[in-house]
Amino acid sequence: MKLKWWKILCILFLFFTFTAGFLIHVPIIGNLHQSIRNFFFHVPMWFGMIGLLSLSLGYSIAYLRTQNLKHDVYASEFAKTGIIFGMLGLATGSIWAKYTWGEFWSNDPKQIAAAIAVLIYLAYLVLRGSMTDFDKRARISSVYNIFAYFIYIPLIIILPRLVQSLHPGGMEGAKGGGNPALGGGSLDATMEMVFWPAVFGWLLLGLWISSLKIRLNLLANKNLINE
């Protein structure tokens, strides 16, 4: 079994996340108590999702430029892994929300934005499934993928800044102010030391899963896709 360096890095990072993440001393903020450790699992899901969906976008653009079916396979598999990350992010978030905000779902703008992302990319998969012709499927779904991405990204940049949110960050002037994703000063140094390896660990895991599925897909369609 040959392991590439980044796969080893992925294993090390995630091992570190699962041990240090549960063992380090965390600051007690408000009613979060020990549940703040979920930060190492919940937040990296969003980094992973956006990273994978951006890769999917990149390959969709590459497909439209080169008409190489291989790029379409890459785009679709990255999108699928991105959806899985999104769903895991929603699940970990909902459980966390239940014990800190009292409800699994409280119509928070960031919850809505995450749910929209999952819906958009599920629609992308439905669109792919509705066509049988390979070239046509690749072309049309690439167009949808690019369109959807450029509509979605402004949404997650703008929307959280406009409305009140339970998440840290959010409307200007509110606590954390401005930044839609991370709540400024709430990360202390020890947590940051675990957080960034966790982000890269999960992202690499996403790449790993996608690369396996891409290889399988390329093998299954070997006679259609010439390298």
Binding site: I116, I120, Y152
Partner: protein, 217 residues
Amino acid sequence: MSKILILLKKDFLLEMRQQHTFFGILLYVASTIFVLYLAMGQPESTVYNGLFWMIQLFVCVNAVAKSFMQESKGRMLYFYTLTSPVQFIIGKLIYSTVIMLLMVLLSLVLFRVLLGNPIMHQLQFFGIACLGGISLSLVFTLMSAIAAKAHQNAAIMAILGFPLIIPQLLLLIRLSRAAYGEVFRQGALLQITMLLAGLDLLVIVLSVVLFPFLWKD
């Protein structure tokens, strides 16, 4: 430019000749709002606002859907030899925007007549409704092109378009609360309006850039 005008003229001429589709949608709007009236009577402003935008969404799916689906395969090939894709999509965008604005106008009148009038600033709501109509029709025009190319019915258009339109719809619903007398923080109204206009511009640019790839078969 002149080609865009000719394409537009052709679309409207078709609309005049096949009046049954246009009146079909008019009837769809009227009967939906009538059913709403029977079901709800005259609701208060939050419900009124929500219903108004939901109706616009469904009307848009139905009104804009046919802009590409009515073009047969042979006719598309004919256009292919005559015009460039950019001219073609711009023509379609303008056409579906005009149709949608007509529908918005009709729904405004019917809502006013049947569902009562909780709106405080009529002119403002009219402006917001027009802006909303434009936003909705622009997004659904490209969705209609995608659905038509995939040889699918209007259902796939709804599946593709609904998640994409949620952000704009949320902004519109929020913005139109101003017309019901809600007071916004200084500058927020302008901010949301500019945001919607910006998103519309983005959708137009994306449609123009992406449509040429859909066009060739």
